[in-house]
Amino acid sequence: MTKTSFIGKEKVATAISLDNVVKRYGKLIAVNGVSFDVEEGEIFGLVGPNGAGKTTLIELIEGLRLSDSGYISVFGLDPLKDGPKLKEIMGAQLQATSIYERIRVREAMELFASFYPKTVDIDELLHIFSLTEKSKSYYKDLSGGLKQRLAIALALVNDPQILFLDELTTGLDPRARRNMWDFIQGVREKGKTIFLTTHYMEEAERLCDRVGIMDQGRLIALGSPKDLIQGISAESKISFSLDQRIDIKEVEYLEGMSKLEQIGDKLILYTNDPGKVLEELVTLAHKKGWELIDLNMEKPNLEDVFLTLTGKEIRD
């Protein structure tokens, strides 16, 4: 049974449905009454600091762990009772996992393909993930980025309806991470649902249609990154310094600015209309003959959402 909901005029099927899911490890409650739905075709991200319960939750959904109570359904399937059936329609990249050290890239693809009744063309998949040239390399000789690319390619070998990615880009350098985002966007364009976890807020903001923020086993916020950021009504920050000392009062009356701070040489303006304030500032500087140094604008982001909701920074 697949639930449906209506978003706008379009009818969208529910890919994952969670209701009051609980998982305990002894006294620790790793997942504490989490409920939400993921729609078919969306990229949904579970974000939060390390130890928030993201990996436990994704592994409950994948059927790798047994929940203590609550309801989990993936395309109408129970991850435990319908395990074999679910595994045919899902693909997963796991944390703390590996494949044989001395298996060649193409051999790994062929091996995993043999586990499924229906598979996609392996050469095409290798091509999509730019692994064709590496198809004869041993797994142990691949870089971290290539290993993760292979991990996604392996997870897609059965043409799954849903793809699970657990901390896919952890440990990758910024370039490899951006590269990976492009690949994930490409997978979504093929109409697949993607459920991922990450502790990089920037990644969630760039990639996800909706995110669920977890902290200490609980879901503390759910929505699109844009809505969540607007919801905390935080302001943009414009910071700069000048080539000369000025009286701070001279910038106090810029239109659209709500607050002004001075830290050493640096001036920080807070505003809900950064475009307008920036324009005013540049005009004023020009008129007064100041040179703007280190001009920087920061919009509020998911990190600020987490900070507002929990009172702590996401990074420990």
């Binding site: 595994k87 796991l94 996992t97 590996s98 091996l111 043999s114």
Partner: protein, 248 residues
């Protein structure tokens, strides 16, 4: 079925790419034959019930060592390592069944043992080390011995917590068995309290059966107790594996 063969063949390829694993199963049997063949170059002589060469007398021990090496040194350590690296965890999010996984490992090890034993016999040809008894009986005995040892090795991989402990326990099984089970030392020469232990260790019945068939001292009909002990170990190994095997 496709998964069974694909996984078995992949495992076999990985075995060939691992020098430490191939030594005991592929290189060692040939060295064993050549070493003893050259050490005793006199050729066949009166030995018990007939004319046999020293190399032929040592053939059963060589077979035993190949089987033990492929099972306890090979399979146990492999599976424990795969579990530790999270390779088994990765398989668990695919539709691969435990029975297919076990079956393909069994198939791979059988293939390895078949290669090792064939090389041993080929080397034996140069030193008058042939088979006096029935070849089908020999093959049947090798298959039973192989299955018993593999079941025990899988059982050990199921209960060992880490690759280190699996490796250590494998060593603790490998070396004592070689010295207790009449490969180098006749059981009668062991201290009397050790003799009953040596008699029931799986390598002893296998070794005795193999010696009877290879040297022509008897057939499987004369080794019913030995076959019984081997089958007993097979059942123990299977039960422990099925009960305790863990993917992570």
């Amino acid at each position: 079925m496709r998964a069974l063969f694909k996984l078995a063949i992949t495992e076999f390829k990985l075995f060939l790419r691992e020098p430490a694993a191939t030594f005991w199963v592929i290189v060692f049997p040939v060295l064993w034959m050549v070493f003893f063949g050259l050490l005793y170059p006199e050729g066949p002589k009166e030995y018990g019930y007939g004319d046999i060469s020293e190399a032929q007398y040592l053939l059963p021990g060589g077979i035993g060592i190949v089987i033990i090496a492929a099972s306890f040194m090979g399979m146990t350590i492999n599976i424990a390592t795969y579990r530790n690296l999270g390779i088994l965890r990765r398989f668990r999010v695919t539709p691969l069944k435990t029975s297919i996984f076990m079956g393909s490992h069994l198939l791979n090890q059988c293939l390895q043992i078949a290669v090792g034993i064939s090389l041993l016999f080929m080397a034996g040809l140069f030193f008058d080390a042939g088979v006096e008894g029935s070849i089908p009986e020999l093959i049947a005995l090798i298959i039973l011995g192989m299955l018993s040892f593999l079941a025990l090795a899988f059982a050990l991989a199921s209960v060992a917590k880490t690759p280190r402990s699996a490796g250590l326990i494998s060593m603790l099984i490998f070396f004592p068995m070689i010295f207790l089970c009449e490969i180098f030392i006749p059981i009668e020469d062991l201290p009397s309290w050790l003799q009953p232990v040596a008699e029931v260790l799986p390598l002893t019945p296998l070794n005795h059966g193999l010696r009877d068939v290879i040297l022509g001292w008897g057939g499987l009909g004369d080794n019913l107790l030995n076959l019984g002990i081997l089958s007993g170990w097979l059942v123990v190994g299977l039960l422990v594996s099925l009960k305790w095997f863990r993917w992570e």
